[in-house]
């Protein structure tokens, strides 16, 4: 599938939005402005955006604990996301969810779950809903290498396969479940091979190349919309930060669970740098245009930060509200 210049420019813009957003999160955590855990997607932007751009704006998307990038990839506004990370009333979840549980239904992000593997059945359910309502939508479910060892991965893929659900399971294999290597914990070399057990296509793709991911996910989307069922896509990628922000996790870097050589190898494959070079080589954007875009995205992130910091916290009474859609008297 050939991408237009406009599509490629939009892919790059969304990748930058994720990168600059998460870089701001590093700063906010370090300054003590951002409470709770923060797991960043820096290094994984290409597979996120390549996949999200290959589906429609109204398609469903399900994320996990490392998931600021998924709604951004889907086109979400940064201000409500940043306000949510700071626990503000104006947050996309009104301060009830935080970093690990974002949802932005306005862009099809129907939720993230911080229990590893728990999003996979829910995503199959969204796909079943789409199929039963005949609304033409599909669901894109992001999960990691660690989640592929959960029972829910296997149950969800089996159910999606027997019911031919319109779903794309996108495994973001960054090599590690916190500090546990996938080489140790996953019995197969390629997680995509697990698709064979469910008689569905399993495809390995370079997760640092958004166009390669776009192509694979586009084909999976066609398959899903034609009623042929799910596809398992494994994007090989890497996280440049530790499992989560904070001193506890920073100390893990010193343990050598990831070798310097391995880290450097992947650092040389920075998806932002690779795609920027590609856009220049293809004549899609000039250096000056790329810098201008980076400037715009940085401004957008600064505006999101300012919006979040200026926003009020929720009122105390809000802690007790919103448990039910149909409230009951307690």
């Amino acid at each position: 599938m050939t991408l237009t210049n406009e599509q490629m420019i939009e892919i790059y813009r969304r990748m930058l939005r994720i990168r600059r957003f998460d870089e701001k999160v590093i700063e906010l955590v370090a300054n003590g402005d951002l409470p709770g855990a923060a797991h960043l997607s820096i290094g994984e932007e290409a597979e996120i955006v390549g996949a999200c751009m290959a589906i429609n704006p109204d398609d469903y998307e399900v994320g996990n604990h490392r998931s600021h990038g998924h709604p951004i990839g889907k086109g979400a506004e940064l201000k409500p996301l940043m306000a949510e990370l700071l626990g503000r009333k104006t947050g996309v979840n009104h301060g009830k969810g935080g970093s690990m549980h974002l949802a932005d239904f306005s862009v099809g992000s129907v939720g993230e779950s911080s229990i590893v593997g728990s999003g996979l059945p829910v995503a199959a359910g969204a796909a079943l809903g789409a199929k039963m309502m005949r609304n033409g939508r599909l669901c894109l479910c992001f999960f990691g290498d660690g989640a592929s060892n959960q029972g829910t991965f296997h149950e969800a893929l089996n159910i999606a396969a027997i019911w031919k659900l319109p779903i794309i399971y996108l495994c973001e294999n960054n090599g590690y479940a916190a500090t546990t290597s996938a080489r140790y914990s996953v019995a197969v070399k390629d997680i995509a091979d697990r698709a064979k057990a469910y008689d569905i296509p399993g495809v390995v793709v370079d997760g640092q190349d958004p166009i390669a991911v776009f192509d694979v996910v586009s084909e999976a989307a066609n398959r899903a919309r034609s009623g042929l069922g799910p596809t398992l896509v494994e994007a090989k990628t890497y996280r440049y930060r530790e499992h989560a922000e904070g001193a506890l996790f920073a100390a893990m870097a010193e343990t050598g669970y990831r070798s310097k050589e391995e880290y450097e190898h992947w650092r040389q494959r920075d998806p932002i740098v690779l795609f920027r070079d590609k856009l220049i080589a293809m004549g899609v954007m000039t250096e000056a245009q790329l810098e201008q875009m980076d400037h715009e995205v940085q401004e957008e992130v600064l505006a999101a930060e300012a919006f979040a910091k200026e926003s009020p916290y929720p009122e105390p009474h809000e802690a007790f509200e919103g448990l039910y859609s149909t409230p009951i008297s307690v």
């Binding site: 009830k96 359910g125 149950e155």
Partner: protein
């Protein structure tokens, strides 16, 4: 009016709601061939798309139900037997119960979980659970515990129309009990307890099968000149505590009958509420009649000894009158 069993009442509720709303569908193990008698003829009427047999994947199909609800469907998930919910606990607790609050109200989760409490039939430790209290400890669920065919039909219909996750616990000691229900459509709102028998000396709150036992005990005690008021909360979340408190303020004595294990049971919660809010109306210590805190043994010589019984209720009532 017509007479139906408890299971037939469930069948009627599901059929009426599926006819009323095309978003309602049923999924679970062996629902197509209607193993438990609540989906007879459903495939013929509604098609396989809305009557779905699932693989034995409780976590999987629970999550599928939740996901379909998030995008606008209204699933009824049938676990057959309540113990099977344990296989799906993460999906139930971390997803079904939490999505609405955690996503700041962007999500509605209109889903019904039906679970049979399959006790008293020599099915031993793993198949005889009555786990409603543990779900009362998880904010986000609504829990119905109907004790009659009339109640189960009306409450289940309300549950299916509710926009939140509702668990319907179906006590198997009641499955084949019969009762009259109206020919016309009706619903029963969640959170409305009912006085099943009026009395003045002792309040007995019964839960699910405990209601039937309490009524039997009341008959026996009436012969001894003791007047029992039997209250059926019908739903544990929301709990209609006012009706219970009103009754206790009249009688000054309370016995709570719950088929769950005694520790942290629904009976414990109801007892605590009354002790907290109506202590000065009490003339005697509250009594709980619940299942002993041991596993359920297989042998029919042992199993019945553990559960609430008419005799245990009579003894508990007499204790409040000492």
């Amino acid at each position: 009016m017509h007479e139906v069993t408890y299971l037939q009442a469930i069948y009627e509720a599901q059929r009426e709601e599926m006819r009323r709303d095309p978003r309602v569908f049923i999924m679970g193990e062996d629902v197509v061939l209607n193993m438990f008698g609540t989906t007879a003829g459903f495939v013929e009427e509604f098609g396989e798309e809305r009557v779905r047999d699932t693989p034995i994947s409780e976590a999987g199909f629970t999550g599928v139900g939740v996901g379909s609800a998030l995008v606008g469907m209204r699933p009824v998930v049938d676990y057959s037997i309540a113990s099977f919910m344990y296989v799906a606990m993460d999906q139930l607790i971390s997803m079904a119960a939490k999505c609405t609050y955690m996503y700041g109200g962007q999500a509605k989760v209109p889903i019904v979980f039906r679970a049979g409490m399959f006790y008293g039939g020599s099915n031993a430790a793993q198949h005889s659970d009555r786990p409603h209290p543990m779900f009362m400890n998880i904010p986000g669920f609504k829990i119905i515990m109907p004790s009659t065919p009339y109640d189960v039909k009306g409450l289940l219909k309300s549950a299916i129309r509710d926009d939140d996750p509702v668990i319907c616990f179906e006590d198997d000691t009641l499955w084949f009990s019969k009762g009259s229900i109206p020919d016309e459509e009706y619903t029963i709102p969640l959170g409305k307890a009912e006085i099943k028998r009026e009395g003045k000396d002792v309040t007995v709150v019964g839960i699910a099968g405990g209601v039937t036992l309490a009524l039997a005990a009341a008959d026996e005690l009436a012969n001894a000149g003791i007047s029992i008021e039997v209250i059926d909360p019908r739903t544990l979340v929301p709990l209609d505590k006012n009706l219970i408190l009103q009754s206790v303020s009249k009688t000054g004595r309370l016995v709570v009958v719950d088929p769950a294990h005694k520790t942290c049971s629904a009976a414990s919660e109801i007892s605590a509420i009354v002790a907290e809010e109506s202590f000065w109306n009490l003339k005697a210590p509250i009594q709980r009649v619940a299942t002993a805190d041991v596993q359920i043994p297989f042998s029919p010589a042992l199993e019945p000894l553990l559960y609430p019984s008419k005799e245990k209720i009579v003894a508990a009532v007499q204790k409040t009158l000492e």
